[in-house]
Symmetry: D2
Subunit: 367 residues, 4 copies
């Protein structure tokens, strides 16, 4: 199992390396009848595209997506949708040095231990370019979710030590600044901090938050297939993520039951929660309120400072990683987080349709 | 999909409700030839048994496990191991009230939304008793892992605002005090804090940390089936968990690449890492160092204080949840965390055996 | 993977050996709200119970099923339904001889090769008693299918050389005679043939046919998850089955396109097929006509005649298998075939609910 | 679930339609270190290529495969191998007529019922071209299997009424004649029969047999994941297959235990079977002898004779299907059967590596 498939009914399989012919994804199980164009997907890919600010790699990739199958007369047919992005900027430099040693913080060593050798060019399969497949597939999932009135939005809440001020929260602002922060002042500070990192040949991490609105109550399963458990897996499967929390998350551990419980109250004929400490799930199942979760990203491991490591001959050496690397990947990861959440949620909505006999009977009798 | 199955090759399926005939689990795919007795499993179940201190429910359950299949002449046969624990203390009280309203912080409302009705007795399937199946299966997984020299140990690092002092860390201490804290002083403070909570009809949360030693490098898959992603799902699938982090976790987000990267160095003929900010994985694959992760638990939602909620008739009401509830579940959850980690790790060790052609050829040629 | 789980959304996990404490099954994913009693399941188990005629083993098992979880106030809750049948007639004889050699036609040798040793008592996990779990789960699936107007019926079409005469087909007759043949004359001949087999210390095989009516068009998926492919796997997973065919099956190989194609014609406002050579599927998807398939069973391998084999010491020996064995298992297997078909069909109906965006939107908007 | 993924650890996902941009497959989980070139795969694709005799469609496709990922320095890396074949001969004719009615024997009607509409050009996803992905993936699986000394060979045993004479069996002959029959005389008769079919605007079916040698004992799992059950599913998932049998198959149903049981005997220090009625499995697990199974193919449904059907307006009409169709697909399907068997067997060899604790310990200790 190379582990490149995600989802049970909305099943996504990604492929491709940093310096191979391209990156792609097969989306199997997308409901038939969704209007879909390459433009729908390109919008999402453009959000993760490199070269859009001084804080992202200067690698120059168009990352143009091509739909190879599964769409006919402008609509999905229910059969596999194959998407591909050609790699264009495969700079012909010598990777021989990287081949011989293990970069700290990267998967070089673990790939070698697991597979006996590795495609060392640009990180190979462990490159951030692998997320292109996730984003392309997530764009489709997000488009399906929109049909149900479900919207996702993610943004940066922290970069290094700089955190947003919740009182100044302005989502639209996050679309304007290069660090995707919904707080104009924090965005400014974060950029200063990043410039400082670059100057010091160093890198930074941060936190991405994602909100999902419009999710009906009842999505997710008890026990092992909880909505939050699946979101955690989805998010931790993104390269640099080291932590996940939903609702109050780690802060809930220091709270008390009386403060942490969300009281129910009637809102006309609907049940609502007066607060949302839970982050939109109870017992692993969506409760109808906004789903809110956060992902912690470690600093980019590629830094040009001198670092200690070992080579394949078993010698202690010193290296400095040059090349076109992001001093921070958080702003470009925002759309990746959003897409992984879309994939997770849609799949659980699909697997959950047979939970009740009465509704299943309605479904088939209306057929 | 009711979502009660975990794992691909070491596949665990749990069943049972709080007030049904019992709780059980089927372990399918356990390697043949493992010596296994009921006692091996009972030791783990006893660690999560209620009634062992003033901070756990007074529900009095023996939780005696019975092996129903899959073991012959003292060894596993490779066929499904069915385990059952009978429910004995099903106090015959009236649950009629709970049936009519939704307890804040519980899954009552979401189960009703998902399934149309629910087994309301004692939380039904969302009861903490569901974890009996996980622990029984995890005990078997842990026994298999021990054969490879892999050991897991979990403990409490925080209860409410009380945190352990890392300088005073003493794992053995965690086995002695009722809050499972590896710091005698913190354990004392935590107990005082809990007494305070009980007096105030309130409850507390906390943090559990788990260490896994002896894991060879190369376990876990790139992309979606990363070891850390699977651990996150496993841990978030435990009822009250709201957050997961591996290695430095959320703290990594505030660090810099130069500080967060773990340098490699030779240790004789072996590669080792000089630090372990990563928590034992790189690129989702174990790197040979200790795996360290943490889980954040919310405060127990059942509190006897008056709370606002709604009933099924759509009326705003006030309730107070009486019964035999833990003011904190963290100490009893320690073994659950450990067991979920065992299940996750063993499954990935099994699925990973075919990663390399040379080793697969060795395997079959030696057959 | 011990391979004891079947299905994706209606997921069935069986456990238990011939001479262990019992046989059981966990049904995970059954839609909530189905009225279900032990009697519903017992009716199916009684159809496979031994000791009902001179042609079945004299092993005397009550095979009483017990529902251990997943049903509340007479209805399924959507959580796992655990079912168990205790083994009662575990005759305390010495199995020492069977332990030392490999019975021809049985799985003794292959279990030893796979697992290193085996539970040799009564065939262990490869015993026909394993099908109890399938039948118990299949009874539930069949009850769900009935809610959609889907009915299954299976019967014997051949025993050894004796075949039914299609012109005399009478399904009710199959419920009356001990060989389950829907042709009174063939049933008589078959019984004579079986008496002849018994007298000669020999055994016989046969063919079971199954019809499924009321299946809406559109069930099953293209490519690998075809309805017929899944039925084939389900049926071949029954111990003694050596062949599967749907519709005209092997006879289709000798036909011509002009004869084998089923013409479509209007039947009022509905599309129907004028013939059903296809057996109810086209391209792996149900076409709205009756699904018809057949399973070929080999003769029971346990015969008391002397046979040549080898023992574990690597010696050629002669054995004769005594004990309480069926000279034919076909009549008792009829209900097993029916149940495996129920499990297959229901699972595909559940996974297929998200095939179309318009219908998925209807489903969630009506929620 | 569009059902386009096959296998658990050697996981294959196919995509593409007859008249889309191309056909492809992603192979996820191939062991690292296998030498692999496009030529290795092309050899297999050439065996199913159209236009090689008067009995195959005149559609002129080069079917040149391209490796897009997963191979580095001539060897598989353990990451997904993406393969693509461009569609080149997409004749620009009007498919408007096919769009409006349902061809008998095809999946037109069932796709419309399932998905609401369909890509009607050349059969879309239900086209025989979908098997390109299977063959490309199967070529890789076969190459892995060869490393273990496992060889597969398939051939035609019957075309319409013409059957091979087992006494004249000559495998090499099957590689020379256009009907893939291992009997020169039957091949001649079969060709005459096919010419007769073509003249009568009709089509024929047939039977493919596959032998697998070198399979170690112990592959396949008891209960639902039997080797034969998985082969049956794999084979029935090929478009026109209506039946599957292993070993003596349907003939076993008319045999007796004394004749059908394969006696074990010592062959030096090895256990062997004196006969192979079982076809190489016992209890669903390989027994070390040759695996032999057969697949029955229906006649090609596309015939130019006039046929009755209905159109989408609900009218009874008459049609004749023109175009470039094979009067028989059996000879081209031989390699498809072989490839599906390779995929099935390899996957079970991979999942089976953790069956025994002792061997699993050897594996990890040698690591």
């Amino acid at each position: 199992m190379a582990g490149s498939t995600f989802g049970r009914l909305f099943q996504v399989t990604t492929w491709g390396e940093s310096h191979g012919k391209g990156i792609g994804v097969v989306v199997d199980g997308c409901p038939a009848g969704l209007p879909l164009t390459e433009e729908d997907i390109q919008i999402y890919l453009d959000r993760r595209k490199p070269g859009q600010s001084q804080f992202t790699t200067k690698r120059n990739e168009a990352d143009q997506v091509e739909i190879l199958s599964g769409v006919f007369e402008g609509k999905t047919t229910g059969t596999p949708i194959s998407l591909m992005v050609h790699n264009t900027d495969q700079r012909s430099r010598d990777y021989g040095d990287i081949a011989t040693y293990y970069r700290p913080g990267h998967a070089d060593y673990t790939f070698d231990e697991k597979y006996g050798f590795r495609d060392y060019r640009g990180g190979g399969r462990s490159s951030g370019r692998e997320t292109i497949g996730r984003v392309a597939a997530g764009a489709i999932a997000a488009k399906v979710l929109k049909e149900f009135g479900i919207e996702l939005r993610a943004y940066t809440t922290a970069i290094g030590p700089v955190q947003i001020d919740r009182a100044l929260f302005d989502f639209e602002e996050s679309l304007r600044n290069p660090v995707a922060m919904p707080d104009v002042q924090a965005a400014e500070e974060a950029q200063n901090f990043l410039r400082h990192c670059i100057k010091n040949q160093d890198s930074a991490g941060g936190i991405v938050e994602c909100e999902i609105t419009g999710v009906p109550a009842g999505i997710g399963d008890p026990v092992f297939e909880k909505l939050d458990a699946n979101l955690a897996k989805a998010v931790l499967s993104i390269g640099a993520v080291k932590g996940f929390e939903i609702g109050d998350g780690f802060a809930a551990a220091t709270s008390r039951g009386s403060a942490n419980n969300d009281a129910f109250a009637m809102d006309g004929i609907n049940v609502k929660k007066e607060t949302n400490h839970s982050g939109g799930t109870l017992g692993g199942i969506s409760d109808g309120s906004t789903i809110v979760f956060r992902a912690a990203f470690k600093p980019t491991p590629s830094i040009s400072r001198t670092q200690k490591t070992v080579n394949k001959d078993g010698e202690d050496i010193e290296i400095s990683v040059h090349g076109r690397h992001d001093p921070i990947i958080v702003p470009r990861a925002v759309v990746v987080v959003e897409c992984m959440a879309s994939l997770t949620l849609l799949d659980l909505m699909m697997t959950g349709m047979s939970a009740r006999l009465d509704r299943m009977k309605d479904f088939y009798n209306e057929n």
